[in-house]
């Protein structure tokens, strides 16, 4: 129950949620809900791990795993943007497809032995900074550092650049964007695929860095859904999503660690004595998400942050009612 260890572990496994959530933010900011994240993460995870096993090259696994997630997202884009099918239905179908496909592809992988993982790094200087050094900059996977860079870059992209301006316009008011010559369809395609690439990267992060190995669909174990919840919790903001991802993962770790010791603050540990109680512990993160969501939503409405106005709605030029 060392806070440093819990927080460092939170940052490490929070990186998975962070990648998936940032990807989902890109897609949803463009106006497309992608509920296929879980499936795309599984595909990314299995392709990355399988490649690493077969070639011994974790970096190649990372690249192919990421691309595999993107490939599945292309399907989502075709279905929802070109054929204008219901986004929720397509996303759910892709989660089933991705899950099934990953299980088939991963059939022999659970027996695979240890593989070469992506390296971990300790940043000289920064690791020595009291308090945050041991948490953020000591012995973390290289992908955790990628996460640190992705967050400000994504924020900058969305809020301070011309492509980001167009991204927001397309998700908030496709009609306005279209009448000013922004190609709504092309941008939505692009960002759905970007979302898939990030989901694939998140999956690969699991199997190549954070909790290596292949355990069927338990490898991802619902983290795709949690990422989607984090996007809502973060009111579609990248910074808030990163905080949410790290905090969520840290709390999960805390709740596991809390079950270990026989004594807690000098009292007998109820979770150690009665195992059934730990199920309630498992609920805590989700209850917390709902509670925070309720707490922030009033403020969000006043400040007009929140779901992009055109989220989930197919755009048809010239159709009335947009």
């Amino acid at each position: 129950m060392d806070p440093t260890i819990i927080l460092a572990a939170g940052v490490a496994s929070g990186t998975v949620l962070l990648f998936a959530a940032v990807g989902e933010i890109f897609a949803e900011r463009a106006g497309v809900i992608n509920l296929g994240v879980e499936g795309m993460m599984l595909i990314g995870a299995v392709v990355a791990f399988g490649t690493a096993v077969a070639t011994g090259n974790a970096w190649l696994g990372l690249v192919l795993g990421t691309l595999a997630g993107g490939l599945l997202a292309v399907l989502h884009a075709v279905i929802t943007i070109s054929f204008q099918a219901e986004q929720v239905v397509s996303g759910l179908a892709l989660t089933f497809l991705g899950t099934g496909l990953a299980r088939v592809l991963g059939e022999d992988l659970s027996k695979a032995g240890a593989i070469a993982l992506l390296p971990t790094l300790t940043i000289p200087g920064l690791a020595a900074v009291p308090a945050i050094g041991p948490i953020l900059f000591t012995d973390q996977s290289v992908l955790v550092y990628v996460g640190y860079i992705v967050v400000p870059m994504a924020w900058y992209w969305i809020n301070r650049t011309r492509p980001g301006l167009h991204l927001r316009a397309v998700g908030e008011s496709p009609t306005a964007a279209d009448t000013l010559g922004v190609d709504v369809y092309r941008l939505r395609y692009a960002y759905v695929v970007v979302g898939g690439l990030f989901a694939g990267l998140a999956g690969a992060t699991i199997t190549l860095a954070i909790s290596p190995g292949w355990f069927g669909d338990l490898t991802v174990n619902g983290q795709g859904w949690i990422a989607i919840a984090i996007v809502i919790f973060a009111q579609w903001g990248v910074g808030r999503a990163a905080l949410g991802a790290y905090a969520f993962a840290a709390i999960q770790r805390l709740l596991i660690d809390i079950q270990g010791p026989e004594q807690l603050f000098g009292f007998p540990n109820p979770f150690y004595v009665n195992h059934t109680l730990t199920f309630f512990l498992g609920m805590v993160p989700y209850v917390l998400i709902i509670a925070v969501l309720v707490a922030v939503s009033g403020e969000a409405i006043r400040k007009r942050i929140g779901a992009p106005a055109a989220l989930g709605i197919s755009y048809v030029r010239g159709e009335r009612g947009h």
Partner: protein
């Protein structure tokens, strides 16, 4: 003659020949010719659904024509999207604004441009937009977000967007429909200065008075065809234009037979309510409306009119006070409670509140009566009865549509308003709440709506008419209440109302002086 056709006329900014555009079930443009000269304001008139917006959307590249050709500056063009049109110097301000509400003014202006390449130095562009706005008298704060702006300001942003792109041809689709009279005059001043610079303007409007004021020439459309092409404004009369639009003479003779008002139907006491943004919107409103009387509520947009209507219809919570209809409290209850007291609502937002655009005309018509016979029996809806009910209303109120199964979003503005009125009147209202009932409607449709409201008065219903059009209020209302910043600042008998006095109070001119008993003969003390 042939030679003239070959050599493009240099004075023409735009030339459209034989434009045809069909939609499922309608030919919106049926071989339309239209031309726009350099440096003129050309008004495009026509009743609701005549095809004006369609024609301009074709010109702007939003719709592809099924047939016909377009020349801009003498060159044949084929726009595949509005982007092509912008590149050719065309800019359109749509009837329904196309702005991103969560972004700032400057951000909205920059959407779709190639410059800046990547990083947006927003401060620099704020300055540029502010400078452009000042040059054309389009006062608006570049850093404000669109949702914080009034409609008038939003429209200035739309125009700024086009000016920033260097548009030489400006298409304005009903720009004044949502403007207060003063804002419309400001817009005209801007347009005149732009025209003096050589910009050409297409101006769509239903307000013939404004057209006479700003336009050089007029083209009139009717049912997808041109009925008068480019006649100089000096050769027209208001009555003549109306006849060309509607195909018959429109004379609005408002006969208001004096009517003995009955018992008090609506009574509001000291009502306070907040706006969506949590600011006080109604600050102690007390009034009464009697059976058989129309109370007009005059005011500049945004002074609490929308909130007033919402409080009366159960759509908004009031933080204080009471609202009773026929003695029954309806304030702070549900809309259903208001409906049960026969409160009818003709809302300002016709597509968001007044109708469900993706449902059929029949479904929209039964929205208030689906719980009762003959439309439903017990818990099942009788589709045969629905069709008979809907067809009866469609005929009585002449709603022009292929059938009652047509989706409501395909109706023109005038027909949608007829539908809403038909539904509300069919619910046998004791209190009618009508908000901006004729905004955006053509002269013919306006006459219809006015007649329907007066018929309701004659039938003994109490009516509260909220409108920014003072002429409309003075023509229809028995009494006029003026609303300013959520307070009633005057109550007049329409018969001896002083227009100047009302106008002054609408703008807060007398706000410092509380209404005196003399102003408000029947106001609740």
């Amino acid at each position: 003659m042939t030679l003239e056709l070959v050599i493009p006329d240099p004075r023409l900014a735009v030339e459209m020949r034989g434009i045809v555009r069909r939609f499922p079930g309608v030919v919106a443009n049926d071989g339309v010719d239209f031309d726009l000269r350099v440096g003129e304001v050309h008004a495009l008139l026509g009743e609701n659904g005549a095809g004006k917006s369609t024609l301009m959307n074709v010109l702007d590249g939003l719709y592809r024509p099924d047939a016909g050709e377009i020349m801009v500056g003498g060159q044949p063009v084929e726009f595949r999207s509005p982007r092509d049109a912008i590149a050719a110097g065309l800019g359109m301000v749509h009837q329904h604004f196309a702005l991103v509400p969560t972004q700032t003014v400057t951000e909205n202006v920059l959407i779709g441009l190639d410059r800046p390449r990547f990083r947006i130095d927003i401060g620099r562009y704020d300055d540029e937009v502010a400078e452009l706005a000042a040059r054309h008298g389009l006062g608006v704060d570049p850093r404000a977000r669109i949702w914080q702006l009034s409609v008038g300001e939003q429209q200035r942003v739309e125009i700024l967007k086009m000016l920033y792109r260097g548009a030489r041809i400006l298409i304005l689709d009903e720009p004044t429909a949502v403007l207060a009279p003063q804002e419309a005059q400001d817009l005209f001043r801007t347009l005149r200065s732009m025209v003096a610079d050589g910009t050409s303007v297409v101006f769509i409007s239903h307000k013939l008075g404004e057209v006479a004021q700003i336009a050089d020439r007029v083209t009139v459309m009717r049912r997808g065809k041109v009925t008068a092409s480019g006649i100089p404004i000096s050769e027209t009369t208001t009555a003549g234009l109306a006849r060309l639009m509607i195909g018959r003479d429109v004379v609005e003779t408002i006969e208001r037979t004096p009517f003995d008002t009955g018992p008090v139907v609506l009574s509001m006491r000291d009502v306070e309510a907040e706006s969506d943004r949590g600011l006080p919107a109604l600050r102690g409103i007390s009034l009464e409306v009697r059976a058989g009387e129309i109370l007009g509520v005059a005011g500049v947009a945004g002074n609490g009119q929308s909130e007033l209507a919402q409080v009366l219809t159960g759509l908004r919570h009031c933080s204080r006070g009471s609202v009773t209809v026929n003695g029954v409290e309806v304030g702070n209850r549900t809309p259903r409670d208001a409906i049960n007291e026969h409160v009818a609502h003709v809302p300002e937002d016709r597509t968001g509140v007044g109708s469900a655009p993706n449902l059929s005309i029949a479904d929209n018509l039964i929205m208030k009566s689906y719980r009762e016979a003959p439309v439903s029996r017990h818990w099942s809806i009788d589709t045969g009865a629905v069709r008979r009910f809907a067809n009866r209303l469609r005929e009585t109120y002449s709603i022009a549509a292929p059938s009652v199964e047509t989706e409501t979003r395909l109706l023109s503005g005038g027909n949608l308003q007829r539908l809403i009125l038909a539904r509300e009147i069919a619910s046998e209202p004791r209190l009618m709440v009508a908000v901006q009932p004729t905004r955006g409607l053509d002269v013919g449709a306006i006459v219809t709506v006015h007649r329907l409201l007066l018929d309701q008065r004659q039938a003994g219903s109490a009516t509260i008419l909220i409108s920014e059009d003072l002429d409309e209020i003075l023509a229809l209302a028995d009494r006029v209440a003026v609303i300013y910043e959520g307070r009633l600042v005057g109550l007049f008998d329409a018969a001896d109302a002083d227009v100047a006095e009302i106008g002054l109070r609408m703008t807060g001119g007398m706000a410092s002086r509380p209404p005196e008993p003399g102003d408000a003969p029947r106001i609740v003390p």
